[in-house]
Symmetry: C2
Subunit: 132 residues, 2 copies
Amino acid sequence: MNISEASSRTGLPAKTIRYYEEIGLIKPMRGANGYRAFRDKDIHKLAFLGRARALGFSIEDCRTLLALYEDDGRASADVKHVALQQLDQIDRRLEELKEMRATLARLVSACAGDSRPDCPILSDLAQRMGDD
Amino acid sequence: MNISEASSRTGLPAKTIRYYEEIGLIKPMRGANGYRAFRDKDIHKLAFLGRARALGFSIEDCRTLLALYEDDGRASADVKHVALQQLDQIDRRLEELKEMRATLARLVSACAGDSRPDCPILSDLAQRMGDD
DNA sequence: CCTTGACCTTCCAGTCACGGGAAGGCCCAT
DNA sequence: ATGGGCCTTCCCGTGACTGGAAGGTCAAGG
C-alpha cells in the first residue's frame, strides 16, 4: 500500500505520515523502488495516532501510549496516568479560555459598535479599569 | 528607562519586548550607548499589548487594535468586529476542548487504573468503538 | 586603575507539529 | 516516447516567543 492509500484510509495527510515516520512513530517497509509500503499494522498505528492526537495528546504522549499499547505486560494504571494528566491540561486550558471569554464578552457587549470612536474595549485594554 | 525596568513595569519578559520591537509593535528610542530608552508611551503600549495577548488576540490582531487605539477617528464598530471574531474563535476552541474533555473523561472513568493490562482507553484509541 | 558583576546588545538556534513547494525519480497508459 | 500522476528527499516557513552565546557598558569597591 502506497502513502496516498494510507492517507485516505487513515485520514492523515501524507505529509503527516512522513513526519510520523521521521520521528520514529511508525516504521513502514520500503519497496524496491524506494516507495513506502504500508502494512495493516502501520495503518492501525496511524489510526491510533490520529485518534490520540484528536484527543489533544502531544506527540510524546502518543509515543508513550503507542508503546503501552504494544506492551502486553502494561499496567492500565500507566495509561490512566497519562490520560489523567491530559485531562488536567484540558481543564486548565478550559478555565483559561472561559475567563478570556467572560472578559471579552463583557467588553463586546459594552461596545456600541457604531461609527463613533469611543470604545470600552480599547479603554479596558489601555487601562484595565474593569475587573475580570 | 532601560529594558529591565520596562519589563518589571509591564510584566512582559525582556525577550518579548525586544521581539515586539523587532516586529514593529513598539519603537523605543535609543541612548548613546545603544541601550533602548523606553518612554511612558512605550510602557503604555506594552501594557496594552500584554492585556490584548492575555485575551488571546493574535499578534496581528494586537497590531490592528493598537492602530485603532491610536487612531482618534476610529469607528468603535471596527474594534468590536475584531473582538467578535476573537470571541468566536474562543467559542470554537471551547467547543473542541469540551468534546475532547467529554471523551477523555469517559475513557478515564472506564479504566480500572490498576496493574492489569486491560485498558478501555487503549481499546478506544485502537478501534474507536465508542460513540463520538 | 582594575576588576567584578549586573546590566545591555545582537545573532542564532530551538520549540511544536506539521504544511508548502522545489527538484527529481518512478509507473502506467496511450 | 510522452504525458500525467504518483513517489522521494530536502529545505523553508509558521506563531510567538525562549534559551543561550559572544561581546559591549556601567557603577561600585578595592
